[in-house]
């Protein structure tokens, strides 16, 4: 049992909130939870394993033109799309990671400790987004590059080169898209404040809504579909466009707009609502 001695003072006089310190605090939170680390690792493993698997599938010489892609596979079975095709599933994992980062604080009550420590509130969410985006890019950029190279190695003569036009952008774009989906999940988690609700929204936004839009009359779906986050991301991750896809730059802008709107709404409500 401890004595009731008053706390010895080793708190520096300059102990106060700075943006960098809040980011550091969020980094400590990020790395000290097993669930977030597992989700990040799962994202990488699923992305790489599926990319290599799809590449092997494509490399199989018996494939007839027009053969449908494997379940969860890339929309186009070309060397680039196959090697990066793991993004389709990996986006759900990293979206979940984002949701856990924010909604997880509400489900456990941690949010009240976080907001009492940083009562301006917005730095907490902003720092979460910065840490998540930073960690995701740092991990997924090499993962995307290595998976691409591995996939092309499997494809051998059928493969394409990293030096081909648009390919570096597509590889980097894959990492950027996945990181963006993570931040999108974090924004939805902060908006809805429940893990289940936010996860449902991530799946709906990335998978269900595009499906529903594709059922609309073609004149409508052509106009809406490219502006959905998943399709904007597709523009970023593919070469030569095709279908209704936007140009890569426009895709990146649309994706950024989605993030700004959702994060902006989350920040606005974070300041307004009782915690």
């Amino acid at each position: 049992m401890t004595s009731a001695a008053p706390p010895a003072t080793t708190v520096a006089a300059d102990a106060r909130i700075t943006g960098l310190r809040v980011v550091r605090a969020e980094w400590i939170k990020f790395r000290s939870l097993r669930s977030t680390l597992i989700m990040l690792a799962a994202t990488v493993v699923v992305f790489a394993a599926l990319g290599l698997g799809f590449s092997a599938f494509l490399a199989d010489a018996t494939i007839e033109p027009g053969t449908p892609a494997p379940p969860g596979g890339p929309s186009s079975l070309d060397p680039l799309g196959a090697s990066l095709g793991g993004a389709n599933l990996a986006q759900l994992l990293i979206g979940t990671l984002g949701v856990l980062l924010t909604a997880g604080e509400y489900s456990t009550g941690m949010i009240r400790t976080s907001l009492a420590a940083v009562p301006a509130r917005w730095p907490v969410l902003a720092a979460k987004a910065v840490v998540l985006a930073g960690v995701s890019l740092a991990v997924l950029t090499p993962a995307a590059l290595l998976t691409f190279l591995g996939g092309q190695a499997i494809l051998g003569d059928q493969g394409i080169s990293l030096a081909d036009a648009g390919v570096p952008r597509a590889v980097l774009g894959t990492a950027v898209y996945l990181a963006a989906v993570g931040v999108l999940g974090a924004a939805l988690g902060a908006l809805l404040r429940t893990t289940a609700g936010a996860l449902t929204s991530v799946v709906a936004l990335l998978l269900v809504v595009p499906g529903v839009v594709s059922l609309l009359p073609e004149s409508w779906s052509e106009r809406i579909s490219p502006y959905l986050p998943s399709q904007a991301g597709q523009a970023l991750m593919s070469v030569g466009g095709g279908g209704d896809l936007l140009a890569p730059g426009a895709g990146a802008a649309v994706l950024a707009a989605w993030l700004l709107v959702l994060l902006g709404a989350a920040l606005f409500l974070l300041r307004r609502r009782d915690a």
């Binding site: 049992m1 401890t2 004595s3 009731a4 001695a5 008053p6 706390p7 010895a8 003072t9 080793t10 708190v11 520096a12 300059d14 102990a15 106060r16 909130i17 700075t18 310190r21 809040v22 550091r24 605090a25 969020e26 400590i28 939170k29 000290s32 939870l33 097993r34 669930s35 997880g104 604080e105 456990t108 009550g109 941690m110 949010i111 009240r112 400790t113 976080s114 907001l115 009492a116 420590a117 940083v118 009562p119 301006a120 009782d274 915690a275």
Partner: protein, 306 residues
Amino acid sequence: MIEASDLSKRYGDKLAVDALTFTVRPGVVTGFLGPNGAGKSTTMRMILGLDAPTAGTVRVNGRRYVEHRDPLRQVGALLEAKAVHTGRSARNHLLAVAATHGIGRRRVDEVIDLVGLREVADRRAGGFSLGMGQRLGIAAALLGDPAVVMLDEPVNGLDPDGIRWIRGLLKGLAAEGRTVFVSSHLMSEMAQTAEHLIVVGRGRLIADVPLAEFTRRASRGTVRVRSPQATALRDLLAGPEVTITGGEPGVLEVSGLRPEVIGDRAAAAGLTLHELTAAEASLEEAFMTMTRDAVEYAGATEGAAR
């Protein structure tokens, strides 16, 4: 120093806090006392800026809490023991909170030792007992060496050893000149630690008094007198301001006279006394009387009796 002025909070059509005005001063332990549902926690949440007041303001050390650039150095608060991510270790929880203010590992180790969590600091907080959770919450509250310490029902879930520890800690913090604001729904607990009381019921201020004053108000009790000459004694003591009731034979319950007056008069008249006891109303009774009308969730039997 905490200064609340006309502080109100409405949830839907329920007024949880109703125009509270009070000041919590440094150097003493101030008890925030009231039945469950009286608005104590809501008031504390507004002090920390977690809930926005519907009306009124509350300042901590001269400013609204949100305006401070070093809030953890201003107020250390424990609002609920479970405001912790269950998957994180106690140490990492504290490190993350401390990091927002650039407070380092040494201070984290210090508060871990202070609350006696050293052995379990690297275990997941989700596996903690309520008492351990309270200790972790108190550790977090003390991280910034704050001028104001605010704890909501801190003895909940603590064993007797822990309760004694907390009382000593609170008194020590107040003795250092800090403002210490502690809520409880138990008068008996407050009587042990607080020097000043702010009593609320149904969101309204009922009393804002020193504990001694509260005790004095509570002690307008009766005096129990036992004598073989009870009848003669009754006649002797009778007077306009005095009421005397007698339950069992040879025993009088006298109110309106101090025990020493009764003893002196009996001696002067040569009457024998076998017992002379001041039966003071307990603090708990005084608190109950004071808040009876303001009890939100009275038990069904109590409600039926009234």
